[in-house]
Amino acid sequence: MNQSAWDLFWTSLGPIVQGAILGTIPLALASFAIGITLAIGLALMRLSRRGWVSSIARVYISIVRGTPLLVQLFVIFYGLPSLGIVIDPWPSAVVAFSLNVGGYAAEVIRAAILSVPKGQWEAAYMIGMSHRRALTRIILPQAARVSVPPLSNTFISLVKDTSLASVILVTELFREAQQVAAFSTEFMLLYLEAALVYWVICLALSSVQSILEKRLDRYVAH
């Protein structure tokens, strides 16, 4: 890399990292937290004995997973105003990404709940617990451990997907890189630089994942 490329790399690192800290990371964290809550609800709906409840959840999940995220963002930001619903860029992005995470994580959580041995439900009922309490105190904590690896994958995908938020006016990591690229026409260099920052974020996430797995492992059956 020649001198001017290095200079460009260093001067643009600031804005890109700032985009990550002010845009990408908070957007991903907020959407993930809300999305997981939604996913638990959807997973429980999928497991419901009432056919129509399960069907609603299944159709929702199928649509979210079967259509491009870009279109979902478009519909929420540019489409809803025609129904009189106008949401600002940031909330729109959070809504879109949360709905998306909800759809993907629902199946993960459902599988995790199903992976808890049936005997755990029985023991919980035996000591007198209601369905709801058995779920929250006995089943979900055990399902949590099983879900950590697939949910971290969902989270890593989410971090990268937030780059789409720029189409609905949210400034984040990738948008910053695009701006510099448009100015300098050095799009290759800038995109690589953005990739590097994404990679660092994902590496950090992976270490958090390992720590979490170890902690949850400590007291869960082997």
Binding site: P117, G119, Q120, E122, A123, A124, Y125, M126, I127, G128, M129, R133, R137, I138, P141, Q142, R218, Y219, V220, A221, H222
Partner: protein, 271 residues
């Protein structure tokens, strides 16, 4: 934990004071199908206070299903269950959740595979029911739980997690968890058949002690020696029916029915 000790939960009545007719559990015509498969044809059972009923029978005959119906884990299709003069559930008209819960509150089950909560310590496993569900004072229950753990030789393991225990230790915790609920009736589903042979003894000895103390129990078991020595009554289950029942020595040594004879022969002289 003898009947006079303070930690004794429901204070089972002195066996001598309880006449044989003082029925704790009375089951009449219990039926259960899974889809087209009628697993329980018509089950009649009586367990008197302080008595022990042993259920024996081949795999798939419905023994576990009987226990699960008694504990309200499974909803029977027909018949009645009467418990302790205070609860009578008629399954011909589908009973409400409340009645199933009432059934569950009065009995406690010990499972073949222990089913301890792996994410809770030994003590937490025992406290979960009395504190979180029955809402009894935590201090009182903790003292009681520790006394029970001490009695089964596991007070030093109170803060261990289940995976740190051997199978025999886990099953003893399972029994303590059941006792701490202060049930009227204890249900055991093959409590030793997942255990290493050398660990079976610890658990059987504990169950025998509980029987001698006057706890009322239903035990599904393949340990014929144990059934003969501990049970008040042995019932042989086959094809969803009680084929034969009576005094352990009579049923196990001189069965009247051919099917019982065959079953016992296979178990006693395997080769």
């Amino acid at each position: 934990m003898s009947p006079t000790e303070p930690i004794e939960p429901t204070g089972p009545p002195d066996p001598d004071a309880a006449p044989a007719a003082d029925a704790l559990l009375r089951v009449r015509g219990l039926q259960k199908s899974f889809g087209a498969n009628q697993v329980l044809q018509s089950i009649d059972l009586t367990v008197s206070r302080g008595h022990v009923l042993a259920l024996i029978g081949p795999s798939g005959s419905g023994k576990t299903t009987i226990l699960r119906c008694l504990n309200g884990l499974e909803l029977a299709d027909g018949g009645t269950i009467e418990l302790a003069d205070e609860l009578s559930v008629d399954f011909t008209t589908a009973p409400g959740k409340k009645q199933l819960a009432a059934l569950r509150d009065r009995s406690a089950m010990v499972f073949q595979h222990y089913n301890l909560f792996p994410h809770k310590t030994v003590l937490e496993n025992v406290l979960e029911g009395p504190v979180m569900v029955q809402r009894r004072p935590k201090d009182e229950v903790t003292a009681e739980a520790l006394a029970l753990l001490d009695r089964v030789g596991l007070s030093s393991k109170r803060d261990s997690y289940p995976f740190e225990l051997s199978g025999g230790q886990q099953q003893r915790v399972g029994i303590v968890r059941a006792l701490a609920l202060r049930p009227k009736l204890l249900l055991f589903d093959e409590p030793t058949s997942s255990l290493d042979p050398e660990l079976v003894g610890d658990v059987l000895r504990l169950i025998k002690e509980l029987a001698l103390e006057g706890w009322s129990m239903v035990i599904v078991t393949h340990e014929l020696e144990f059934a003969r020595e501990v049970a008040t009554t042995v019932a042989f289950v086959d094809g969803g029916r009680i084929v034969e029942h009576g005094d352990p020595k009579q049923v196990l040594r001189h069965p009247k029915e051919e099917r019982t004879r065959q079953f016992l022969h296979r178990l006693l002289f395997p080769f």
